[in-house]
Symmetry: C2
Subunit: 156 residues, 2 copies
DNA sequence: GAGTGGCTGGGCATTGTGCGCAGTTTAGGC
DNA sequence: GCCTAAACTGCGCACAATGCCCAGCCACTC
C-alpha cells in the first residue's frame, strides 16, 4: 500500500504521545476527525500498522541480557518444525530463516550471562539444532525504529 | 520490577484485542476497573511496558526485504558516533553493539534485493565502517514475541 | 458529464475516562 | 498473633472520546 505524508504524521503523533486520541490528533493536524479515523482504519486493515499493542520490555522485568544466535539445523528437519519447537521456549523472542552459513537466526533474552547458558542449552536441546553460535548484545543504540522509514516512504 | 499473573493477563488482553478498553478488560478479568488502571499505570511508568504505539510494518509499505548486517568499525570512532550516523539512514531499523568478531550489528530494510545493495552501500559509506557482512532474512517465523516471556516471569 | 473516492463539518447516542471516595482485603514485619 | 501499609473494591460524577450517521464539496477518471 502507498502511504502519504498525512499517514506518516498520524503515525508519528500516536507514536510520540500514547495518550493521543483521534479527536485530539485531528485538531493538531487540522483535518476532520473522520479523516484521521479513515486513515487509521485503512492502515490497520492493510497491515501498514501491523500491531498496536503494549510492548513488554524484557529489560524491565528481569531479562536484561539479549543475544543473537545463529543455528545450524539437521537436514532431516524442516525450518517450520524447528521454529515451532523454539517457540515453546519463552526466552526465544524472534526466529528467522536466513541466508548464509547458518540456517536460522534467533534472538533470545536471559536473566544474566550465566542464565544465557541455560537458555542456549534449551535451544540446543531441540533435537534438530546441530550447532549454534551466538553474539551477545552489549548495548542497544536503538531498535524498532520504523517511523523514519515510513516517513521516507511517504516522501517526507 | 516484578510482575504477577494479573499483569500478564492484562497485557495479553490488550495485545490480542487492540480495541480493548480498561473498563471492558476489568469486566473480563473480574477485577475492579481501578485495579486495571493502576496496573497499567505502574507497568507504563516502570518501563515494563516500554511502548504502546502503532508499529509500522516495512513489509506492508514497500520494504519486504530485511537483512542483518555485522559491521566492523574503524578504531578511531566511538560506537555511539557510528550509531548516530547510521540513525540518519531510515532503512536502518536497529543498531546494537555486540560481542564477537564484529563491533556492531544492524537490522536493515530494503525495497528489493537489488535495493538492499543501495542500503548497504549507504551503511558502508559511513566513514567509520571498515567491513560489513550481511545475512538476508528469508522468512520470519515470529518476532517481537515478548508476551510468553512476560508470562513466564509472572510465574504463569 | 456522470461517477468515484476522499475530505469536511456537523450531530447524536453510547461508552469510556479521570478522579475521588470510604470500606475491605491482603501481605509482610515485628 | 497482631499491626500497618498497600492494594483492591465498588461506587458516583462530569467530561471527553467514540462509533456512526449524513449532505455537501472537491479533484480525478472514464
Amino acid at each position: 500500500m502507498k502511504v502519504d505524508r498525512l499517514d506518516a504524521r498520524i503515525v508519528r503523533l500516536f507514536t510520540e504521545e500514547q495518550r493521543m486520541s483521534v479527536l485530539e490528533a485531528s485538531r493538531l493536524l487540522k483535518v476532520a476527525r473522520a479523516t484521521v479515523q479513515a486513515r487509521l482504519d485503512r492502515m490497520l486493515s492493510s497491515g501498514v500498522i501491523g500491531r498496536w499493542a503494549p510492548q513488554p520490555e524484557p529489560r524491565a522485568f528481569g531479562f536484561p541480557v539479549v543475544a543473537y544466535c545463529s543455528l545450524t539445523i539437521h537436514q532431516d528437519f524442516g525450518h517450520d518444525v524447528v521454529a515451532e519447537a523454539l517457540a515453546r521456549i519463552p526466552e526465544v523472542l524472534e526466529v528467522h530463516t536466513v541466508s548464509g552459513d547458518s540456517d536460522l537466526m534467533a534472538r533470545v533474552a536471559a536473566r544474566s550471562n550465566a542464565d544465557l547458558q541455560r537458555v542456549l542449552d534449551a535451544v540446543t536441546a531441540t533435537k534438530a539444532v546441530v550447532r549454534s553460535s551466538s553474539v551477545i548484545v552489549l548495548n542497544t543504540h536503538f531498535e524498532g525504529r520504523t517511523l523514519p522509514l515510513l516517513e521516507a516512504a511517504a516522501g517526507d
